[in-house]
Structures are given as structure tokens and as C-alpha cells.
């Protein structure tokens, strides 16, 4: 039984490791094998990028060698997929190799698309790449005062990031003693300041307390880089001195080129996590078109379900569990306190008051992630 995992991010890595352990005896007996394809020999802890943007982590702290995170029985190749031929159970890679499979896991993730908005790439700072996070840190360091705008594209990875970066900007400028010289204005696409109702209800008075202005129903249409004006589809605009963007994301290019899903999002069953119309293809994390947060946390909980079902299908011929929509997100409420949101398809999040303990738990988790992605936590 050939299991092919395409993508070495959080979801793909947890699935591969988890399946490798569950099928250890089958793999030893030569009855099953796991192959992973990735576009990189390194694995990045992406939530760390925001800390890099504020000078709180160094970029090299975010990486581990991908091979070091994988069970030794996994056949790992740095050779990204170039084409999916689902009719023939076959994936072709950049090197020209062909991999046949019995079970396929697609975990190719998402990528920022600032180029979808005219002027956004040139006119804004962002922390969604290593290069961007370092550039944003330098821009913040040189900033001596003026109007800071935060804008948010749809869809975006880590839905909590817009409020986190706003809290962090407030604390950053405060720590530099220039908060009174900075006007912070937060812009959000829907008609409250966060998609989760009680996150919005908590953040709104916090914004007022911190002197953060906000505008809702603001979907970025373009950035006039020369005049430093950001404009919305809804017809409003804001003149800024420093623009921070959470850019729109798309799925991987190979998904679009293989015509597996519009904008790179693959149609996926919300419970089985199987690709619509394909009973041997699982989809995990950002790659799905599910109305679920695009976060490592969602990918983690989905990966546990997929791994358990791949193993049970091989052992007893049937899946044994389903994804219930579970997501757990830390919410950094500035530099020294945090809270969390946990929810699933049936229960909305019940937000707790931010505290220092939760912040230190998040700081610890930044290191514990490496156990988590090995499938041990």
C-alpha cells in the first residue's frame, strides 16, 4: 500500500509521522510505505514570523531540517509536485519523477498574494515571509511617528493575526516611548472588528482603551503608493505613513495548474476531509476549501483525523473517526498577556480574560511546536 504525502508543512508532517507509527509493523513487513514530497529541506514555524517582525525572535529560531522531524521509515524527497493526475493515481515532480500511490494526502498549503491588489506589494509591510518580517522590523525601527494603517485581505492565514499585530504595534510604540506620536487605524473586511463575535466584543473596548481607531467593511481595492493612500472596494480611503498588510492568500500554484480547485483551494468534505469525488485523496489544512480557520492548529487536528483513518482503512478497511471542526488558537494580546479561542462546528469559542500565564504558555509552545509536528504532542 503506497501512501504519498505531498507537502511538508504542519499538516503533511504530522500525518506522515502519525501514519508511520500506526503502521510500523506493516511498513517493516513491506506491506505499506510512506513517501513525502516537499519543496524545501527546511520546515518553518510560521507563527514565529510575527515575533521576528517585532524583534522578539531571530529568523534562524524558526527552522529545523525537515528530515530531522520525520520518522526514519518515511521516504523523504525535496522534489515538489508539478502535476496531479488523480485519474491514474500519479503525481509528477519538478525533477520529472513519477510517484504512483494508493492513498494520496495533499498538504500543499497556501501563499500570500499581495500582487492581487495593485500597489500592496510595494506599498505595505507584512510579516508572512521571513524576508517580509525582517523588512517590517526595520521599517518599525525607523518609524518615528505618524499614521499606521492595518489592512486585511480575504482569505488570510491565521485569522487572529490582525488583532494580534494591532496589540503588538501598540505595545511596540509604547516601549519606544513614541505611542503618543503614532495614530493606529485598523481596517477589517466585515462589519465587526473580528470574525469571531466574542473576539470582536473583547477587542473593541481594548482598542478604545489603547486609542486604536478602526473601520469595518473595508476590503482593500488598491494602494496609491506615491500618495500613500489605501482605498477600499466600499469606496473609502485612508492616508497612511506606514501600511501593515495581512495579504490575501491563495492555495499552491500546482493545485491551480492541475485544476484541482479554484484559487488553489480543493473542494473537501468537512467531516471526512476527503477530496470531493475522490475516495483515496485526503486534503489537510490551508489546502482545503473548508470554512475553517487557515491555521497550523486546524491543520494539526485535521491531520490527527486523517492519519487515524488512513491507518484504520489499511488495517480494517474502514475509517474510524471524523473531523469536528476543532481549532485552538492562541491570541497574543500585546507583549505580555494572551488568551485563546477554542471552537468546533458545534460550539463557538468562549473567550477568557487575557493573562500573563497564557502568554508564557504561547512562548513555550513556540518551542514545543517541534514535538507537536513530530506527532508526539
Amino acid at each position: 500500500m503506497k501512501i504519498l504525502v505531498v507537502g511538508g508543512g504542519t499538516g503533511g508532517t504530522i500525518i506522515a509521522n502519525n501514519v508511520a507509527r500506526r503502521l510500523a509493523s506493516e511498513i517493516s513487513a513491506g506491506k505499506a510505505g510512506i513517501t513525502m514530497l516537499s519543496d524545501s529541506d527546511r520546515h518553518m514555524y510560521q507563527p514565529g514570523l510575527m515575533y521576528v517582525a517585532f524583534g522578539q525572535m531571530m529568523p534562524d529560531e524558526l527552522y529545523r531540517d525537515q528530515a530531522s522531524l520525520l520518522e526514519s521509515s518515511i521516504d523523504f524527497h525535496v522534489d515538489p509536485a508539478e502535476n496531479f493526475d488523480l485519474d491514474n493515481n500519479r503525481v509528477t515532480t519538478a525533477s520529472g519523477r513519477t510517484h504512483d500511490y494508493d492513498i494520496l494526502v495533499i498538504a500543499t498549503g497556501s501563499r500570500i498574494m499581495p500582487k492581487n491588489i495593485p500597489g500592496l506589494n510595494e506599498g505595505s509591510e507584512t510579516f508572512y515571509t521571513e524576508e517580509g518580517a525582517i523588512k517590517m522590523f526595520k521599517a518599525l525601527r525607523e518609524f518615528e511617528g505618524g499614521r499606521v494603517a492595518i489592512v486585511v485581505g480575504v482569505p488570510h492565514k491565521c485569522p487572529i493575526a490582525p488583532v494580534e499585530v494591532t496589540f503588538s504595534l501598540h505595545d511596540y510604540f509604547k516601549s519606544r516611548g513614541i505611542r503618543d506620536k503614532v495614530e493606529i487605524k485598523y481596517h477589517y473586511p466585515i462589519n465587526r472588528i473580528h470574525s469571531i463575535e466574542n473576539v470582536a466584543a473583547w477587542a473593541e473596548p481594548e482598542f478604545r482603551r489603547m486609542g486604536v481607531e478602526y473601520e469595518t467593511l473595508f476590503n482593500v481595492e488598491e494602494v496609491d503608493v506615491e500618495n500613500k493612500i489605501v482605498k477600499s472596494l466600499e469606496g473609502t480611503e485612508y492616508q497612511y505613513d506606514l501600511l501593515i498588510s495581512i495579504p490575501e492568500h491563495n492555495g499552491a500554484e500546482v493545485i491551480i495548474n492541475s485544476e484541482l480547485g479554484q484559487d488553489g483551494w480543493i473542494p473537501t468534505d468537512r467531516h471526512t476531509l476527503m477530496m470531493t469525488g475522490h475516495d483515496n485523496v485526503y486534503v489537510v489544512g490551508d489546502t482545503t476549501d473548508l470554512p475553517v480557520s487557515k491555521t497550523g492548529s486546524a491543520a494539526h487536528f485535521q491531520a490527527e483525523v486523517i492519519a487515524e483513518n488512513i491507518a484504520s482503512v489499511i488495517k480494517i478497511g474502514a475509517p474510524v473517526t471524523e473531523y469536528n471542526g476543532k481549532v485552538y488558537c492562541f491570541i497574543e494580546a500585546g507583549f505580555d498577556k494572551a488568551t485563546y479561542a477554542m471552537f468546533n462546528y458545534d460550539f463557538p469559542p468562549d473567550l477568557k480574560e487575557p493573562n500573563k500565564s497564557m502568554h508564557w504558555f504561547k512562548v513555550s509552545y513556540n518551542k514545543m511546536y517541534w514535538s507537536s509536528v513530530r506527532g508526539l504532542l
Binding site: 480575504v154 482569505p155 473586511p189 466585515i190 462589519n191 470574525s195 469571531i196 467593511l217 471542526g325 479561542a341
Partner: protein, 76 residues
């Protein structure tokens, strides 16, 4: 040819029904209609407010059993 698409955002809290509608509206062609399914009671007010502000057309909005069906036509 215009299409009618279903956006199933029932029982979801993040990114939520309106954010899902905005995402799918970007993918749609002018003339397409999107039918948003939502169990969020705020949808009945949130979607018409956004539609009015951005200039699309609200075709219908009704609650069937516990699910809101809000249909929007992309006009630009």
C-alpha cells in the same frame, strides 16, 4: 453563462459566513448568484449591510428551519 453557487458556512465561527461570502464573491463572475447558508443569526443583517455598501444585489433572504439562505448577485 451565469452560475448559481452554494456557499455552505453553516456551523462555522471563523472565518465566518460573511468572510466566506466575500471570498467566494471574488471567485465568482459578474452575473453569478451566490446562496449563503448560515446558522449565524447575525447573517440576516450583516450580509445586506455589506451588499448595500459594496453595490451588489440582494436577491433574497429567508430562514428555513434554522438556516439562513441569503442570495446575492454579483453585479460588478
Amino acid at each position: 453563462m451565469s452560475e448559481h453557487k452554494i456557499v455552505d458556512a453553516k456551523n462555522t465561527y471563523c472565518p465566518g459566513p460573511l468572510m466566506e461570502l466575500i471570498r467566494c464573491m471574488k471567485q465568482a463572475d459578474v452575473g453569478d448568484t451566490l446562496e449563503l447558508l448560515s446558522t449565524d443569526s447575525g447573517t440576516a443583517n450583516d450580509v445586506p449591510e455589506w451588499v448595500a455598501k459594496i453595490g451588489h444585489e440582494l436577491v433574497s433572504s429567508e430562514q428555513i428551519d434554522d438556516v439562513w439562505h441569503v442570495t446575492v448577485k454579483k453585479v460588478k
